[in-house]
Every structure is written in C-alpha cells, then in structure tokens.
C-alpha cells in the first residue's frame, strides 16, 4: 500500500506549477501525458519526480496534438488522466479536446496562459480565454475554471477531475504564467479528509461483457454520415451541457449590492479588482466587483442579479476584450454602459484600476 501524497492539512509555500502536481496526486490522478512548454513545464517536472513514489505514471509525447489525444486515450481506458499546457500548446490540443466534447471524454487540462498571439511571451496573459472556452470546431461544451491563487489552483485541480467524471465533460483549469511561477502560501489537504469524495472512474472502452448482448454497446463515435444523425447527437450534447450548467457555475461577488460601478474580472486579475474595491470604498466610492469563477458555463443568472442596481460595468482583463465579449453575450439585453480596461499580455495592478476609475470621475 502506497502512502497518500498529502495527509492532514499543511501550509506550503511553493510555485503554482508544483501546486498543480500535488493537487493531481491528491486527487488520485493515475497518469499525466505532456509535452514541455513554458510556463507550465514544472507541472511535468514535479509530476515526474513525485509520480513514481506514489505508483503514478507519466508519458511524454512527441507534441501537444499527441498529448491531448493520449489524454483522451488514457481516460477512455478508465484512468484518471490529465495534461497541462500553455499558449501554442493549447492551440494544438484543441482538436483532441473537440473530440472529447463529441465523445464525452472526461479529460482534465491545466492551462497556464502565456502571451499571444503565436509564440509571443512565455510570461503571462489572459489571452487563452476564447480558445479554452470555445476552441476548435464545436459548441464550447467544456467546463473552464479560472483560478486566481495557489489555494484555488489546488482546490480546482481536484474539483476538475470530479466535474469531468461526474458530468463527462472535458474540464479545464485556466491559470496563467504568474500563478505558474510565483510562490505564495496555501493549505494542501487530502480531499477525502475534507469530505470530498473523488468520483470513481470507469472504463469507457473495453468494458466487461459482450456488447449488444450482455451490455449496451459503448458506441463511441466522432464521425457521422448524415446531417440529421449529427444533429440529434449534438442536440443531446448541448441539452446535457445546459442541464448540468446550473450545478457547475461558480462566481464571487464583492460589495455589489449598492455599487454604482461594478468591476468585472476573472483569474489572477480578481486580486487587483478586490484590492481596488477595498481602496475605492475607503475613498467613499460605491464600487463592487463581480468575478466569474467558471468562464464556461458562465454564471449568467448570478451576474444579472449582482449588477441589477449598478449604473455601469468595467471589464478589466489582460486580453483585448475576450472576457468582455463573453460578458456582453451572456447579459444580452442589459442596457448599462460597459467599458473595457484591456491590457493584452500584461499584468494589472489595483493601483491602475483605482486610477482608471477615479479619472473617469
């Protein structure tokens, strides 16, 4: 019997990539498939060091196309499997994740966003929002958790495995280069000891029994001959997705109740937004902050409720309007003015949000 990777609760001071590796171990992930790309390299790095001690496996593939499909394969065989990537690697994984959408393969992908377009920087951005939520040919039938701290990287990496396997939806943990590389404190724990039950996995191909005789055939397909046939399948996928959505959506609100201006931000930028709200409230200004934690499905109803009394919204993100586009689509019909503070590929501080809002008067 191999020891549990984490026993009890303990404060750690490590990088985000290390957090992801530990969280996947604690969640009982059996194998990681991966291909190196900065800034997520150390997820693999730590996983390959730790995995053998706990009887877990690792396979380095020849590229991200392969890593994505190998993750699908691992999951189809019944393994709690995951991969991690960033930027151009995320682009290459879209084809396999589109197959995961079609075949309801519960893959888990951790994305540490870097600058874009193309190779750009290895540092940081929030420019992989559109791609992670809606990439590839498909309908965006994915779950995307956008984390903002090491604690959340840990919590949501564990949760991602459960969401994926419970609903059979490909699930993403969307971090970024800052979260990947910085060190800060968090508490690691054994999920079971906190009452978090890991959803059991099962073989999706190669099940016991004669298909069609002793059990229903698995009928795994991603190719269809007629439009009607495809339509029926996609229609069911879409229906299943929206049926699960209310149980999946998550958000946070800060002082929205009486706020005149509400700052909308996700991921690591929520830290700046929260600090900005604190500062502006101290200056006597009625400012609030709404943070979608799931970018897909989006916490639409919660947001509509949170902004009901506001006069104006300001979307703040390290991208040129990727969150902004989602927000506008989700709250369609809302006539409040929406302003963007966009810094593609660049970090955003509380001070600049405060300044931006104060300059507007």
């Amino acid at each position: 019997m191999v020891d549990k990777p984490i026993k009890g609760e303990k404060r750690y001071f490590v990088t985000g990539n290390e957090v992801v590796a530990w969280a996947a171990l604690a969640a009982g992930a059996e194998i990681m498939y991966g291909y190196p790309i900065t800034p997520q390299n150390e997820v693999m790095h730590y996983w390959t060091r730790l995995a053998p001690k706990y009887n877990r496996k690792f396979l380095q593939t020849e590229d991200e196309i392969s890593a994505g499909f190998a993750t699908c394969g691992g999951v189809l065989s019944g393994a709690r499997a995951f991969t991690a990537t960033a930027g151009p690697g995320n682009t290459l994984m879209q084809e396999s994740m589109s197959m995961a959408e079609m075949m309801k393969i519960p893959t888990v992908v951790v994305v540490q966003q870097r600058g874009g377009p193309s190779t750009a920087t290895v540092i940081y951005s929030q420019q992989e929002v559109t791609m992670t939520c809606f990439g590839a040919n498909g309908e965006g039938l994915r779950v995307v958790y956008s984390t903002g701290s090491h604690q959340e990287l840990y919590d949501y990496t564990i949760k991602a495995f459960n969401t994926a396997w419970k609903y059979r939806i490909p699930t993403f943990v969307l971090g970024d280069g800052y979260q990947a590389k910085m060190r800060e404190s968090l508490v690691m724990y054994d999920p079971e000891e906190r009452g978090i039950k890991m959803v059991p996995t099962e073989k999706i191909v190669g099940k016991e029994g004669m298909p069609g005789v002793e059990r229903e055939p698995s009928h795994l397909r991603n190719t269809y001959n007629t439009e009607d046939e495809l339509y029926d399948v996609v229609e069911k996928l879409v229906r299943d997705f929206w049926q699960a959505a209310p149980e999946i959506v998550e958000h946070q609100e800060f002082d929205c109740q009486d706020a005149e201006i509400i700052v909308v931000a996700h991921g690591v930028v929520t830290r700046a937004a929260q600090a900005a709200v604190k500062e502006l409230r101290a200056q006597g200004k009625k400012i609030g902050h709404f943070r979608p934690v799931t970018l897909r499905p989006f916490p639409r109803e919660a947001m509509k409720k949170a902004i009901a009394n506001a006069k104006e919204l300001i979307v703040v993100e390290s991208a040129e309007g990727q969150l902004d586009k989602i927000v506008k689509a989700e709250i369609y019909g809302c006539s409040k003015p929406i302003t963007g503070y966009f810094k593609p590929g660049v970090g955003i501080t509380a001070e600049e949000i405060v300044e931006f809002i104060n300059k507007r008067g």
Partner: protein, 190 residues
Amino acid sequence: MAKEYKIALAGEGGQGVQSVAGIIVEAANDVGREALYIPNFGVEQRGGVSIAFVQIADEKIGSPKFKKADIVIALSDRAVRRTAEYVDQRTTFVYDSSIEGVEEALPKNAAKVYAIPAVDVAKNELHPRVFNIIIMGAVIEATKVIDLESAKKAIEKKLGYKFEQDPKLRELNFKALERGIELVRQAGIS
C-alpha cells in the same frame, strides 16, 4: 509588525538575486507572514538582467507584480537602468557603489538614493560567493520584513547541508548577513 513591503531586487544572472529573494520569502512565510515572490522569467533570463519581485505583508497579497517598489536594489549597471521604471517618489533606491558611470542613470524621482559597497566587501573582506547573502542582510535591515534570527534560520534551512560538511561556511554566511546589515546602517538607510 512591519508594514507591507514591495521589493525589487535586480542584478546580473549569477549574482544570486533570485536565490536571495527565495530565502527571504521562505523566512517570512515561516514566521507566518504572507509573502509572494515572482521572478522575471522572460527569454531575457538567459544573459539579461534578472529581477525578483517580492511582496511581504500581513494580509493576502494582491497582484503578483507591481508597478512601483518601496525599495529597489540594483546590483549592476544594466540593473540600475532597467529598474528605473519601478521607482517613484516613495521608493528607496539602493545600488552597489562599485558600479561606475551610472550617475546620470540613477533615478531622480526616488525618495532616497544610496550606494553600498557590497561587491567590494564580498571580494576583499569575505568571499565573492557570499555576495548575495550580504545583499540579503541589506534587504532585511532596510525593510525589517524579517528579523536577523529568522534570516539565519532560513539560511540554515537552505544551506544547512553544506554547513554540515564545512562549518566555516556557516560562519562566513552569517558574517556576510551581518555585514549587509551594517552597510545599510552605515549608509543611514534604515
């Protein structure tokens, strides 16, 4: 308890700014403070100026990077020029006195600018290898983010395995730490 501090440490690759930043934040974390450390890790990491962004506070810290630092420590010519952008009227700017020809590049808007002879002390008095520990001493004295005992503990934690083999190294490192503190006191920074 000390106030929240934003520290930018900059130097050439090999000067050890990242390892010093790492030891300081570990020490702060060990005494229960909130700490956040992020290196610059662009492609410039190879052969460029290395910068460590450190924040230490009593509450959870906001953005990982900051625009303006409370204290900037620049250890090379290029580091002096590169860190000007992190300086405003509240910033204490410290550079090494061995860096020549940077007078015109020193930030004019800093609250205060100080030169400390850390390179000189490392080379002529102690050992070039403990240069970064001198800098660590300078940082903790200038900011008070951790006390001397916590700093020593953190160094022991990081380098203890080397000290086991050669106890003189412990003495050398602790001496370097104390000299760093002295340099800051002599410069009148703290």
